[in-house]
Each structure stands twice: as C-alpha cells, then as structure tokens.
Symmetry: C2
Subunit: 160 residues, 2 copies
Amino acid sequence: EDIVVRGVTLKRDLARVILIGVPNQPGIASRIFARIAENKLVVDDIIQNIVEHASEANIGFTTSKADAREARMVCEQLAREIGVRSVELDEDLAKVSIVGVGMKTHTGVAAKMFQALADARINIQNITTSEIVISCIVAAADGEKAVQVLHRAFELDKEQ
Amino acid sequence: EDIVVRGVTLKRDLARVILIGVPNQPGIASRIFARIAENKLVVDDIIQNIVEHASEANIGFTTSKADAREARMVCEQLAREIGVRSVELDEDLAKVSIVGVGMKTHTGVAAKMFQALADARINIQNITTSEIVISCIVAAADGEKAVQVLHRAFELDKEQ
Ligand SMILES: C[C@@H](O)[C@H](N)C(=O)O
Ligand SMILES: C[C@@H](O)[C@H](N)C(=O)O
C-alpha cells in the first residue's frame, strides 16, 4: 500500500518512570493516574504491557525532566500502598517519532524505522504506535542523530 | 487546559503476541520486525517497555486474530535465534480508544478513562498513547461495555 511518511519529530528533555510488577486487576491504573493527576504531574506517553501470563503488568510513563524526581516519589509511595515490585526512573531521554499516512499496518514502516536506528547503533528503549505515528524513546544523546538517520531513511531530506 | 474528547472507537478481533526478556541492544527490534514484515503479518500496535534496569525489554504487538497463530510461530523461531525468554499469545482482545484534542498532557484524561473502566470492573491489559489518542487493550468480551462506559464518562452519549 502507498505509505507516505510525512515527517520526523523530536521531543527532548524527557524522563521515564516505570512501575514493575503491578497487580493486574481492575482499578489499579486508575489509582495510579488519579494520584499523578492530584500531584499535577505532566504525563506525555503511557506504555503498559502485561507479563508472566497476565498475573502482573509493567506500566511506564514519560514525563518532563522537571517533574521526574517528584513523579518517582509519588510512584514509590503508590508502590508501597498497592504492592508494586519496584519503581525505576531514567532521566536523560528523547522521543523520536515518524508521522505517516495510510499506515493500515505498521509492519513495513516500523521495520524500516528500526533498521535505520539499528544501522546507526541507536538503542530503542520504548516503542509506542498509533494510527499515524510510530515513536521510539532513545537516550537524549541519540536524539539528534536519530532524526538525521530517519530523515535520510524516509527520504525526507530531499524535500527540504 | 480545555481538553475535548471527540469520540470513542473500538477495534475488535485483535490478538497480542509478546516477547518477554528480549536483549536490550541495538538491532534487535529491527530483526524482529524485518522477519514479521517478510512473513507479511499485519501489525496494529507495538508496545515496548524496558525492564530490570534496562538489561532486557518486553515487546508486545497486536495483530489480527487471523494472523495470531502464525505470528506466534514466527516469534518463537526468532526467540530461539535471538535468545528471548518466552513468547506469549492472547487471542481474544479488543482495543478501545478515546480521541481528544488539546491534550498537552494525558494526565487528566487518562485518569478519567481508567476510572470509568475501573468502575465497570474492566481490566486494562495494555495502554498506549499518542498526541491525541489513548488506547486500552481489554478482553474481547469487555469491548462493547468499555465503549458504553466511556461514552457516558466523557458525555458523548448526549450528542447523539
Ligand atoms: C495493571 C492495571 O492496568 C490493571 N490491569 C488495571 O486495569 O487497572
Ligand atoms: C529491545 C530492542 O528494542 C532493542 N533495544 C533495540 O534497539 O533493538
């Protein structure tokens, strides 16, 4: 199908908090994000996978660098109340995204995006997708390079 | 800020494959999705979190129910080649999404969405977000009910 990647964006100064070993039952995500909202913390993306045959989940979210330490503190308090195995914070991150249209399936575009980052030896920490966007969280130091290699891979540098 | 949730969508007949304990180094995601693309498998969303202080990652992706078994087979072969701890398949899933505008931060809208699902005792298996969308993977049997409770929570049922 005719997939057209329109552009590449970079979001800098991100941090990520992840709650590991969260009980996988109704109401838990609600409690976590109600507390985050009460503390007026910024949330950019939320990324949750269930693991170990669905007995537990890992919930990560990206936030601004400014909110990172407070976000970790709020989540460590929640971890004690809810019974979460551990909370990890990583502060020097960036999000590089490609925006495409006509992506009925992400397979081809994702493979090309990941290949371009792999060739540049850039490690992908998180991946999220939506109808028209594929985003990768990378180390802050890799952000600029990631944009350059993706511009080249999707031939966007020709248009400029 | 003035967040307006425009609508709720439901995608049925989804399955999810997750690779657990994937080595977290450059080039791995590329190998996985190149193989998936070679096998012409449909990929809806990709959801990756890194865990255990970044030594490994869990990569989940949703696919059509029709491709589910083949996707698991392809990933089990990859798991042997790459050294992945385990591959899990879940076949009876649906994705419920809310689409909003003006979401500078997902905090408030996410908290409200998760609260509505929690009140209806609907378990959230995966969460992904983008600029204007928050999606939750739920059991296929919960899909319709999830749409109804979210319509009510965001007062979209009044407009119809
Ligand atoms: C882990 C968490 O998302 C839980 N499954 C819930 O529904 O709240
Ligand atoms: C786990 C996988 O995404 C790996 N970090 C990579 O960059 O390919």
